[in-house]
């Protein structure tokens, strides 16, 4: 596809642990266009965070990317040298993690953490870097930015720390921002502030964003397209609207119905069982042990990702016969 900023295809990232091979990402593909926000939804163990780590090539050992390709601006990231990756990370591709207290360095001031990145990637002197850091803090909504530059992370609240992390991620005007559960550790009203800020900044900087989350509310609010992942595999890819109104995968349907609504109470449909063990994932379709529609074929054959219609893909043997319900709020 032309015009795609990021094309991840058939990515497999495995962890070679003593207990066995954990197939954390097992054939995930995801495309992100210019200035587009794409959602990657899943629960723990779905492979969403490892996908982000793979894109940045920061998969911790014993993990390894074993297959697939990751093309960023047309060039394969997996072929780049470590030095080239270093110039990419933080400048062209940035990331925000879930927990700002662990992603910021506790022994450096905010100023040091911001100016380090700015001076590494841009030809500016120290004074210009500090000025830039200050205006970034103001931009992400931190008042008294001069004073805050001298603060250490522990002196800031959770929401404030996440704003600093966002400022750091945006300091070199990246073309791609990977946001890995950026608001999960924040309070609701602070989450609302941060989501709104991300939306504004995304439009302002014309950057593309991969929003990694388990929250269907954030998906509905921020994204145009969504990839639903489960146990390291893609279950469904579609425009956000279609995922909510016309889901084709039983897991997507179950996920929509298992979440309580703030707007009314209704019976919650339970997804039975637990998230599968990725060392020995279920045979056939990974979701079949928990799927209420499962048939004999589902435990036998791995379903391929098929196109339902323009841009809507699903990996389910039964999608043609199932009549699934979307979210009726």
């Amino acid at each position: 596809m032309i015009g795609k900023l990021l094309e991840v295809s058939n990515l497999r990232t495995y962890f070679y642990t003593e207990a066995g091979v954990v197939k954390a990402v097992d054939g995930i593909s995801i495309d992100v266009g210019k200035s587009e926000t794409v959602g990657l939804v899943g629960e723990s163990g779905s492979g969403k965070s490892v996908t982000a780590q793979s894109i940045l090539r920061i998969v911790p050992p014993p993990g390894r990317i074993v297959e697939g390709s990751i093309k960023f601006q047309g060039a394969d990231i997996l072929q780049k040298s470590e030095g080239e990756m270093r110039m990419l990370r933080g400048s062209k591709i940035s990331v925000i993690f879930q927990d700002p207290s662990s992603s910021l360095n506790p022994v450096y001031t905010v100023e040091k953490q911001l100016t380090d990145i700015i001076t590494l990637h841009q030809h500016v002197n120290k004074r210009e870097a500090i000025q830039k850091a200050e205006s970034l803090l103001t931009r992400v909504g931190i008042s008294e930015s001069k004073k805050r530059l001298r603060a250490y992370p522990h002196e800031l609240s959770g929401g404030m720390k996440q704003r600093v992390a966002i400022a750091r991620a945006l300091s070199c005007e990246p073309s791609l921002l990977l946001a890995d559960e950026p608001t999960t550790s924040l309070d609701v009203t602070i989450q609302a502030q941060v989501l709104e800020l991300l939306k504004e900044l995304q439009a302002e900087y014309e950057m593309s964003m991969v929003m990694i989350t388990h929250d269907m509310g954030i998906v509905a609010d921020l994204t145009r397209r969504v990839t639903v992942a489960y146990a390291g595999k893609v279950m469904e890819v579609a425009d956000t609207r279609n995922v909510f109104t016309d889901p084709k995968h039983p897991y997507t349907e179950a996920l929509l119905k298992a979440v309580p609504s703030i707007r009314r109470t209704r019976a919650l449909e339970v997804i039975p069982g637990n998230i599968p063990n990725l060392i020995e994932p279920p045979s056939g379709c990974v979701f079949h042990p928990r799927c209420k529609y499962a048939k004999e074929i589902c435990s036998r054959e791995v379903p391929a990702l098929e196109e339902v219609n323009g841009g809507h893909y699903v990996a389910c043997h039964l999608w043609r016969e199932l009549r699934l319900e979307g979210r009726a709020n």
Partner: protein, 355 residues
């Protein structure tokens, strides 16, 4: 100051009728009156300790919970919701105020009567947020549950085995799980074990402190439905503490909203969510991203952050962040009252504007 809030149910329960049962008995099981909990902020110098301030964790909180009822307690981190729960169980000593549980004054019993205190403990239990830290990793599930029997001496040893398997089945686990250790279970299963342990003493009242927050979305529904089913079966009362408004709506009969140590609004669940009268409740509800693509309302963004509970703002504690604040809000503290709509308690000078 503190009025005891005894709220009876309206008829507006049709949507919940399937899920929850009305309290069969309107008698209050628990009543909390003007509860206050302040923590000293201490500075340690070379000449000893000096108290330099007070954290107003819980300020003048009053509510009741009936038999078979769930009261949701919502608020953001630091608003005092967990402290409220701990004070009710006397895990923290209240600064002032009373907690009456089944006609017994908790403070008196716990500070004077040891045997009575143990009896009370078996009537009220707590389930914590993180089942990874609330279960001892070196004990099997059998040991975890029977430790409770050993302390409370409520069951003869010969029946332990049978009771453990009964409890495990109540929370949808199997007999063979009893011999396993916590690390062999997933988060959802661990939370079931924590619930089984709480049920081991046949309590009437359980404080649930964020019981599903650390669980995956597909597992949350399992635990919420289990809690609702257990409540029906055992006529349990819950205090459901959470910051997740959707799950609060799902499980609670009534909801109290806390901000900086105070209850700012308390009403029947559907009424509170559909017609909130306090600007803070309105903002909280509006802040939750709704999983619906058709829903494109403009979010009401609250400016700033929750102020420090060490020196909470004067008068109405919400006024520095409130879009509707006027002079009166900066001068007088509003009281929690239900003079606009019966049983809909709100502490806001301007609540009538939101009717």
């Amino acid at each position: 100051m503190g009025t005891t809030l005894h709220v009876t149910y309206g008829e507006n329960l049709d949507s919940k009728a399937e899920l929850t049962k009305m309290a069969t008995n309107q008698e209050a099981l628990l009543s909390v009156d003007s509860l206050v909990k302040h923590f000293d902020v201490v500075e340690r110098g070379i000449f000893g300790r000096k108290t330099i301030g007070e954290i107003h964790a819980v300020d003048n909180v009053s509510f009741t919970i009936s038999r078979g009822e769930t009261l949701g307690l919502v608020g953001e981190s630091g608003c005092g919701k967990t402290t409220t729960g701990k004070v009710i169980l006397f895990l923290e000593k209240p600064t002032s105020g009373t907690v009456i549980f089944e006609q017994a004054n908790i403070c008196q019993v716990f500070s004077s009567d040891k045997e009575g205190a143990r009896k009370l403990r078996s009537r009220m239990q707590m389930v914590f947020q993180n089942p990874y830290s609330s279960l001892d990793p070196r004990m099997t599930v059998y040991d975890i549950i029977t430790e409770v029997f050993a302390i409370h001496k409520n069951i003869p040893k010969s029946q332990w085995q049978q009771r453990v398997s009964e409890l495990l089945r109540m929370v949808n686990l199997e007999d063979y799980h009893a011999e396993r250790y916590p690390h062999e279970f997933s988060g959802g299963q661990r939370q079931r074990i924590a619930i089984a342990r709480a049920l081991a003493v046949n309590p009437k009242f359980i404080i649930l402190d964020e019981p599903v927050s650390s669980l995956d979305v597909s597992i949350r529904a399992q635990i919420l439905n289990l809690l609702i089913a257990l409540q029906k079966r055992e006529n349990l009362s819950y205090l459901y503490i959470s910051h997740d408004l959707s799950s609060v709506r799902q499980i609670s009969h009534r909801v109290a909203v806390m901000y900086l140590g105070e209850i700012v609004e308390l009403a029947h669940t559907d009424i509170l969510f559909d017609k909130p009268l306090h600007p803070y409740t309105q903002a909280l509800i509006a802040a939750v991203p709704v999983p619906d693509v058709e829903h494109k309302t403009i979010r009401m963004i609250l400016p700033g952050e929750v102020p420090s509970p060490i020196n909470p703002p004067n008068a109405c504690r919400f006024h520095p962040r409130c879009p509707h604040a006027t002079d009166i809000c900066r001068q007088t503290a509003p009281t929690l009252k239900d003079d606009l709509i019966k049983d809909h308690f709100v502490a806001c000078h301007h609540a009538d504007k939101f009717l």
